[in-house]
């Protein structure tokens, strides 16, 4: 009897594990006859190796993050991103044999319908569009620092992904400014690979392309268990004149609030972006969180925390990047030194040859 139940469980697990891949495969097969010359499906993503030492405890993670994108006719797009990673650390924290575990997650698996110039409808599993970090900077080949900001859990509960529907688009596009909007609803799910909380929310951005300045605001309401609101604002600035990038976010949740501000300055003005020094990019991030009340399980620091992150990234040729950083954390629960090193390789290629 036990063996039958065990077999059934294994079968269920296997079915769930392969569900995402099967759906992606079906969409790709569907897209084959619909692909035009410039619309061949792509396989993209990155391979990475992350090493981190936090308060003396060292762990490392090999990661693969494949992305598959397939246009279906003129109005549909299927896209997905998966995260497959191992997590290895000494058995006793700082000593002993290395032990590891394996994690996999479906970060998004969505079907987009480009309904009109101003609206795109999305159904499936998508990244929760609260703030900018989750949607834009969580792909492993993008962020300047290996670790997400401390306030990342605000507005992105429970997993950073949502299952449901979303409407998004550009409400107004003028040469001087763009107004973008996103609204979504997510249903609760505890299915492995597809876990999500019941929530709803929106984001509105105003982007000034002439200055490369963006300001925006986010709102999320968690509709599961104790209902609560999250609000946030963000500011991005990437001037044309020099290779400076400024990104910042502030978020307020039920039990805590905080902000981060990140500046990156690539030294490409010294003999160009492909020179020895031009590939260097010093990065700095300042972040603080403030605890209003105890919020066990909300993923935020238990006490007020200040953290300064100093990074130095190097952009090798062929889409290889080395990120290094040192962080100093100050908190009443204990100060900490965090050292991170990561190497990522980003790839992007057509799924098949297609027509020239």
């Amino acid at each position: 009897m036990r063996s039958i139940i065990s077999a059934q469980l294994k079968q269920t697990w296997f079915s769930r594990f392969t569900l995402g891949f099967r759906v992606t495969g079906c969409l790709l097969l569907l897209s084959a006859p619909l692909s035009s010359a410039q619309n061949v499906p792509i396989v993209s993503g990155a391979l990475g190796f992350f090493d981190s030492t936090n308060t003396g405890v060292n762990f490392f993670q090999p990661v693969a993050a494949p992305v598959v994108v397939a246009p279906l006719g003129r109005h549909f797009l299927a896209e997905s991103r998966f995260d497959l990673r191992g997590f290895y650390e000494p058995k006793n924290g700082t000593s002993g044999p290395i032990q590891g575990s394996f994690f996999r997650s479906t970060q998004y698996l969505q079907l987009d319908y480009l309904a009109s110039e101003k609206i795109t409808l999305v159904a499936g599993r998508f990244l929760t569009p609260f703030g900018t970090y989750n949607e834009r900077l969580t792909a492993i080949w993008i962020p300047k620092f290996q670790d997400a900001p401390l306030i990342f859990p605000i507005g992105t509960r429970t997993t950073g992904s949502s299952n449901g529907v979303m409407a998004r688009g550009v409400l107004l596009a003028r040469p001087l400014f763009h107004i973008d909007y996103i609204g979504y609803f997510s249903a609760s799910s505890s299915v492995p690979q597809f876990q999500a909380g019941r929530a709803a929310g929106d984001r509105i951005d105003v982007y000034f392309p002439g200055k490369r300045v963006e300001i925006g605001t986010s709102y999320g309401r968690f509709l599961q268990g104790t209902h609560n609101n999250s609000t946030g604002v963000h500011f991005w600035w990437q001037p044309y004149r020099f290779p400076l990038e400024v990104r910042s976010e502030y978020a307020h949740g039920q039990h805590a609030e905080g902000y981060w501000i990140e500046t990156a300055y690539r030294l490409s003005q010294w003999k160009g972006p492909d020179s020895l020094f031009g590939r260097l990019e010093p990065v700095f991030r300042m972040q603080q969180t403030f605890r209003n009340s105890p919020g066990p399980g909300d993923g935020l620091p238990a006490a007020n925390t200040q953290q300064a992150d100093f990074g130095l990234d190097y952009h090798f040729p062929h889409e290889v990047r080395l990120n290094t950083s040192y962080s100093r954390k100050f908190s009443s629960t204990g100060n900490a030194n965090i050292w991170d090193v990561s190497l990522t390789y980003r790839f992007l290629f057509p799924m098949w040859r297609g027509h020239q």
Partner: protein, 101 residues
Amino acid sequence: MNHHRSTWKHLPLPLLIFLLGSWLAWAQSVKTPQAGTKATAQHATVVTNPGERAFQANCGRCHNPPEQLSPRITGTVLRHMRVRALLSPQDEHDILKYLAP
């Protein structure tokens, strides 16, 4: 009340760092006339070409643009970016013409 006071008390430091970083970057761009001229020249090109202008305004804001992009996949990549980066249809069209004329 004390909590809000402590929030504001800590804000000057990141603001100071932000202003200092911006000033240093600006100062360096002024001190390097070659790079500055190049940037200005690029900007001038941007104004005349809507595809390049849209590319510079939108692409590379989150990540470095890919080093190579096969013409077979430019349409797919741009449709992907239209959804993810909220590109306007006009920008998508202009960038597509610019990347794969």
